[in-house]
């Protein structure tokens, strides 16, 4: 079974982005620029934002993090977003979630200009992606498409079963893979908690994308021979034998796929490392749109 290596592919994607950014800057233009807004001091959010800054730095993008105190009001934040929406020097704008409870995440996200919404969170952007009319593909789905591409896993005419209908992963994945596009043209079945006789679908699937948040749910005996599994799950399962006290598990039982599947993503090291590349790809796209490049 082929182990789909997200760390390796993420590195390759970043290397390509770095080369393209180099060419842009060498041609005398300014570099693409990503702005992140971080409200409060949430530990995980600090880490996420720091790693996005690191990505930007490695690729050669400009980046900045605007840190706002926990006490920031919604209207202050909306005002800041409007300013950055208008800014000539920022191409992509992200607001790190979660936000403090007194601020509506929906209002804030919706306020980001669709042209700069490189996280792909606004309704207008989601509508464009759904209709295949451009728009920024959200991070995790974008990462998955890049993995399939890198490992030359054909989607056209194949039966893809997506487990989980979240707006973050399952829903957009089901849409993207069934669109008339080079990374689409699959026949997609979207399964979820109300699906009856799930194995009927998984046993017929050429590709299964699993994003339900139940560790090791998908077993090899639920699949047909030669299937590919894309595992989006990542759950901490306590494990006293591990020095950290837990291990990370995916939604698929990786060991059980061996001998059945053609290829699968491990957890960690599969889809996870790819999600950060989507943001960078979208930032470059936003830049190109702005200057009518390509």
């Amino acid at each position: 079974m082929i182990r789909i290596d997200g760390v390796k592919v993420a590195k390759e994607v970043k290397e390509k982005l770095r080369e393209e950014t180099n060419q842009i800057v060498n041609s005398g233009r300014r570099a693409p620029h990503l702005t992140a807004i971080l409200v409060g001091l949430d530990g995980a959010s600090q880490t996420y934002v720091a790693s996005k800054e690191k990505d930007c730095h490695e690729i050669g993008f400009g980046s900045e993090v605007i840190r706002m105190p926990e006490t920031t009001t919604e209207s202050e934040l909306l005002e800041l977003i409007e300013k950055i929406n208008q800014s000539e020097t920022t191409d992509g704008l992200i607001v790190q979630l979660p936000l403090p409870k007194h601020i509506s995440e929906k209002k804030v996200t919706d306020a980001i200009s669709p042209l700069k919404d490189v996280d792909g969170f606004t309704p207008a952007n989601f509508g464009l992606v759904t209709r295949g009319e451009g728009g920024y593909i959200p991070a995790t789905p974008f990462g998955i498409l890049k993995l399939l591409e890198a490992y030359k896993i054909e989607t056209k005419g194949k039966h893809v079963v997506v487990l989980g209908r979240s707006n973050i992963v399952g829903r957009p994945m089901s849409i993207l893979l069934s669109q008339a596009s080079p990374t689409g043209n699959a026949t997609v079945t979207l399964c979820h908690s109300k699906t009856e006789n799930l194995e009927f679908y998984t046993k017929h699937a050429d590709i299964v994308v699993v994003a339900i948040g139940i560790s090791e749910f998908l077993k090899g005996n639920m699949l047909k021979e030669g299937a590919t599994v894309i595992d989006v799950g990542i759950t901490r399962v306590s494990d006293s034998s591990n020095p950290r006290g837990y291990v990370l598990k995916g939604d698929a039982d990786y060991a059980s796929l061996e001998g059945v599947c053609y290829a699968a993503t491990p957890v960690p090291g599969g889809v996870g490392p790819m999600t950060r590349t989507g943001l960078m790809l979208n930032t470059l796209e936003a830049y190109k749109k702005k200057f009518n490049l390509d």
Copy 2:
């Protein structure tokens, strides 16, 4: 086999709308109001707009048609839309398509305020519908949901196969039926021109929605016993024995469904008559949103 009667259900939906509008007006409020813009003199468009006016009149909505000459410029039209977007007295706004060739339909449609976009054509509206966050359901999908509801055809846990991935019908249908909602919760497979072994899917389906524009494509022998067929196709097929010189055919071979299916929509008289009700339902919803009713 139950013949799903769109004419009858459309009448019932309109009657309910009429009663609700009556109550609103009797409570001293103004009636909901739909504005249609018609550019040029396209014959079919004139007919469509006239029938929408008639629906409004029967229900008790206010309505107006703004007729613009064929020579209207894009910026004149955009200016008019902006004026109506701001208007306090219009709840729903539709621009009848097609537009003259010198005007971008995309630009015009996108200019309609999402709050008044009762056709459900803007990207933001499509994004909201896709994510299950409100938004106006486009006319044909809305009509189909109402038909399933009226005939108490359960979707929860059922396997729905949608044939055709258009942004007008197939795509939104596949999304709506798989959402966590009273008219959703189905396991949906979206099939299209690149699908291999189509009968594998149709033979397993509890409900088939067919919207591919190929007359009498879907036959009874491609279905399992007890299935329900929703036929969105409507094609003129020439027929010299008919005084009009043609007959209207659906995407399903209706006669062949008899003895196999539980229920099916005829063509004409099934989905067609329902499409106009969606616009009216959305107009009332736009009105209620505006005044925070319900």
